[in-house]
Amino acid sequence: MFGLWSAPAKLLRSNIRAVAILILTACFLGTGCKTSDDAAAAAAQMSATAKALSDYYTAFGTILDDTDQIYILNQQLLSKPYTAENRQLLKNNETELADRAALAADFSTMAGQFAARSGSTAPADVTASAANLETEIDSLKSVTQSTSDQNALSFALQQFVTAVKEHKERDAARAMDGFARGLTALFIHEGAVWNSVEAVHTQVAKNLAVYLVDHDGADNSALLKVALHPFGLSPAAPTGDLKAALAPLAKQQIATRTAALDDSHAEATDAMTKSPQEMSDRIHAVSEDKPMPLRMAPIQLSTVDKWATQVAENQK
């Protein structure tokens, strides 16, 4: 069943390789070219965007891990079957996510390194940087899965260096723009899957939480803090009639938090979709010999970071 995700994984790897070339293009645009600063900014921004993508995938690994644990609890407490085969399906998806997170992290690191090298202007420096990147590409875990992919990337790299030496900067920028748009399309395509994984997680967690409230498996005392904390007092764990009276409030809070979790994820996915689109727009401006309008990373990335942090904290 490990082949289930092979097609999208290849698509992802293809896009990340494409954007790796994109970053190379952005960095080497600086070879005797007035766009050097813009190219460095583009590489740095793409590094930040790739880091956000890695965090996004890592958060989904956490969500799938939590979902796995909920299914195990469901089987133990509610006799909902969780077969070894189904668990393997979930684990396969989790493995694929981890692979994607690693890919994006590797790419972010590489983009950051080349952003730092973009000040080089001599052709010899360009060649040396290309050689260094070839070494880095060889070290990428994901790329080592396919020798043909490595060869394709190396070939593209040589083509790119040749183009830079011939000062075809605008052609390279246009190619970079196309790659960025391809990355955006990938995010949009995968958005439905991530939305589904998140929604199923929150729903099955909600169903189990409601069961636990109904069966004395939840401490509702947190609901009483608002009344007692102003007076320096802490609530005792409710029992009997008090606990029963608080149960509807606990269920209401579960429903409210479920909706909030779904909304928060939707905002993060939207931001993760818009960030590469914004990068594409900026790079397009560079390809048209116009100055890059903004030098900071896409502002939407903070929304992704906030959500990823929230997912990690929810697991504590």
Binding site: L4, S79, V193, V204
Partner: protein, 107 residues
Amino acid sequence: MPDVLSTVQATFLSIDSQYNLLRAVCTTQQQRDDLGNQYAEAQEAYLACIGKMLRDDDPEISALSMQLKAANAKIAQAVSGMGNMNKVIDDITTAVALGAALVGKIA
């Protein structure tokens, strides 16, 4: 365009949310086993569907998807029909089978 993933997801979540109530009114071990098997199959269809990254532009898939949506509507009313558990389990079985067929089409 019908969304295969959302319909398979709806089947699984519908059974998951009603499982406790339905299992409580099962009168025979066979009914409980049948309900559990359908739950596992709905979960499998959903997890496999996620793994296959959907393609729902096939007309045959669209037709199956519409049938599954209709079957899901019956599952949504399952609690009100708990007096006839055999009928409820039949409805769930129909939906789960359609979901499995749908996922198979996008393999």
